[in-house]
């Protein structure tokens, strides 16, 4: 019995060595031969937030394979070096350092803001660009002093950018002049959105009648909603996550508040509709909608469904865009050089992706279109894409 265990254990050991080596050999070898372009991909393929990482990676790999099938970039094939950061920030730092050492021209990923921050030192030290498609925190591309991190870019909008766009949507598309806000006082996400919404709305001549607060995990919002009802706003902005905002929408309608309710990507969950009931007149922003009828989106949806046998989600779309965003910049750089790639990334203007038009601003953040969904009888429907001015 013991002997068998020993055999199994030693076999497992040998196997792990072999596996370890084989993942190493994909990255070694052709370091300086110059017939391929090495791209480092760092995602959460296992661990707590693996669902984000895997979805992004599926989209990204699909784009990179398409690029290779179409002849690569400058006639060179992409050598895709994919590594798993196990949803851990220390692993993310290790993995990105490893990819940089193995000669990646750019680092693509990771999924979450925390793991992306951990990968930044490797990009800065090795002077290669890091592009994240999904780190929405406001302080990814800027350091604590507010100076731009030279090698860090992102292709998804920041949390607070949604506040700006929803304010413009309320003013220009819905033609409202006054609004009330009910925000989660315990999350940076909701606070950032509130600040951006208020500034934009007031700067364009709107009036914020009142700002009320709630706390995550609460279930009774009737008292604050009664206050808001007394203000009689034309529109109500409720930034937060679906667990509370779903209930808020329901209780607001129960109390007879008929004003449209605006929100952000925190609403994007099937649970929202369950909690909110048969809600109407709710608008929220998101990265992408599978119901978008734009030609590029329909084409992407079909290709993705053919390959993966499921409908793509926002993370698939963001990952896919990241692949072509990288290609677009590298082609404009003119040669395989990370410094020139960085300059080209900074000059990105009007890149057309599935998730909208992307231009990079002076803070390395994208100025991009936002997708607005409208909830009709509890079901989110694609309303329109809103382009930034």
């Amino acid at each position: 019995m013991k002997k068998r265990l020993l055999v199994i254990l030693s076999m497992a050991l040998v196997l792990s060595l072999v596996v370890g080596c084989s993942s190493g050999t994909t990255t070694g070898g052709t370091a300086s031969t110059g017939d391929t372009i090495k791209v480092g991909v760092n995602y959460e393929l296992t661990g707590a937030v693996a669902s984000y990482g895997v979805d992004l990676n599926d989209g990204l790999q699909m784009a990179l394979e398409e690029i290779n099938d179409a002849g690569g970039i400058f006639g060179k094939q992409l050598d895709i070096m994919t590594m798993d950061n196990k949803s851990s920030d220390t692993e993310s730092a290790n993995v990105s350092a490893r990819l940089a050492r193995d000669g990646a021209i750019a680092l693509l990923g990771p999924a979450t803001s925390g793991n992306t921050k951990a990968a930044i030192p490797a990009a800065n030290e090795n002077k290669i660009p890091l592009i994240s498609a999904s780190a929405t925190a406001d302080d990814i591309t800027l350091d604590t002093q507010g100076t731009v991190r030279p090698y860090v870019f992102k292709t998804c909008f920041s949390d607070s950018f949604q506040g700006v766009m929803m304010a413009e949507f309320a003013l220009n598309d819905l033609s409202f002049k006054n609004a009330a806000i009910l925000a989660d006082s315990t999350s940076d996400y909701a606070q950032g959105l509130t600040k951006a919404f208020t500034e934009t709305f007031e700067a364009s001549g709107g009036t914020i009648l009142g700002t009320e607060a709630y706390q995550a995990k609460e279930t009774d919002f009737r008292a604050v909603l009664t206050n808001i009802k007394a203000l009689n706003p034309e529109v109500l902005f409720v930034p937060g996550y679906y667990e509370e905002t779903g209930l808020i929408v329901k209780q607001a309608r129960d109390l007879g508040i008929e004003a449209p309710i605006l929100g952000a990507d925190g609403y994007e969950a099937p649970k929202f509709s369950e909690l909110a009931g048969e809600a109407n007149d709710v608008y929220y922003s998101s990265h992408y909608s599978p119901n978008d009828t734009a030609e590029s989106v329909v084409k992407f949806n079909q290709a993705f469904e053919a390959k993966n046998a499921k409908q793509p989600n926002a993370f698939n779309a963001l990952g896919y865009d990241l692949g072509y965003f990288f290609k677009d910049a590298l082609e404009r750089a003119g040669e395989v050089d990370s410094e020139k790639l960085k300059l080209a990334l900074e000059e990105t203007d009007g890149f057309e992706g599935v998730t909208g038009l992307v231009s990079i601003d002076e803070f390395h953040n994208p100025v991009k279109s936002i997708t607005i969904n409208k909830v009709v009888n509890g079901e989110p429907e694609f309303l329109k894409k809103l382009d930034p001015k």
């Binding site: 279930t219 009737r222 008292a223 206050n227």
Partner: protein, 294 residues
Amino acid sequence: MEFVIQQLINGISLGSIYALIALGYTMVYGIINLINFAHGEIYMMGAFVGYALTTFLGLGFIPSLIISMITCSILGILIEKVAYKPLRSSSRISLLITAIAVSLFLQYIMVYFVGPETRTFPEVVDSERLMLFDGKVILDTRNIYILGITVILMVLLQYVVRKTKTGKAMRAVSQDKDAAELMGISVDKVISVTFAIGSALAGAAGVLVGIYYNTINPLMGSGPGLKAFVAAVLGGIGLIPGAVLGGFSLGLIETLVSAYGGSIYKDAVAFAILIIVLLLKPSGLLGKDVKEKV
């Protein structure tokens, strides 16, 4: 004016829930001097039983309410027999710590079995909205259900405690356990009955919260549990009318704090009240100062 009435409706509905939970706290305290911190979790279990009955068995509101109350009273008796009875002669602090342990045990056993996510309670009560004052005040039928059921249960409880033999035995045990035993009252049985009634009320509160807020999760008991504890202390812990008064007062106070701009501070206000009551009048609003027997 309409604004104040609407806020009163909100406050009374919230207060009903606090009062129902506070009754269980206060009854158990009256009998065995234990602050049963697992009480909030019984309320949570009541909500989940109600959820299971309405969602999977398709039962209506009243049958689910009754079955859920029965289940919770069995659970209450079980907890008392397993966790508290063996410790009845040990110090009060070990009982208190056990109560906290039971509370955590129930929370995480539910997380383990049903998962931590929020669930949506089905709409088993037709929610009709009554417009008053030209639609400026909205009275939901669910508000009426909550208040109505709370009042009915309280009247029933008052009847049991004041008019029945069991109630007499409960009052006797709460005054002097040893003397009651000498008079031929089975103290164990009385304690079980007390746990059963208190837990049934918490179970009812759970189902009512389910239909009112239509969301439940395994950790939902801790917040309202603590608030109900504050309510019981505010009214005078150990006194049944005190729990009712404390519950409604706390619900109204919280709502009014939110109504006048302090929505972030409403929990702070609730616990500030606890501290003030304990400092100024530890026996609560309705309590009389009784010298503790040494």
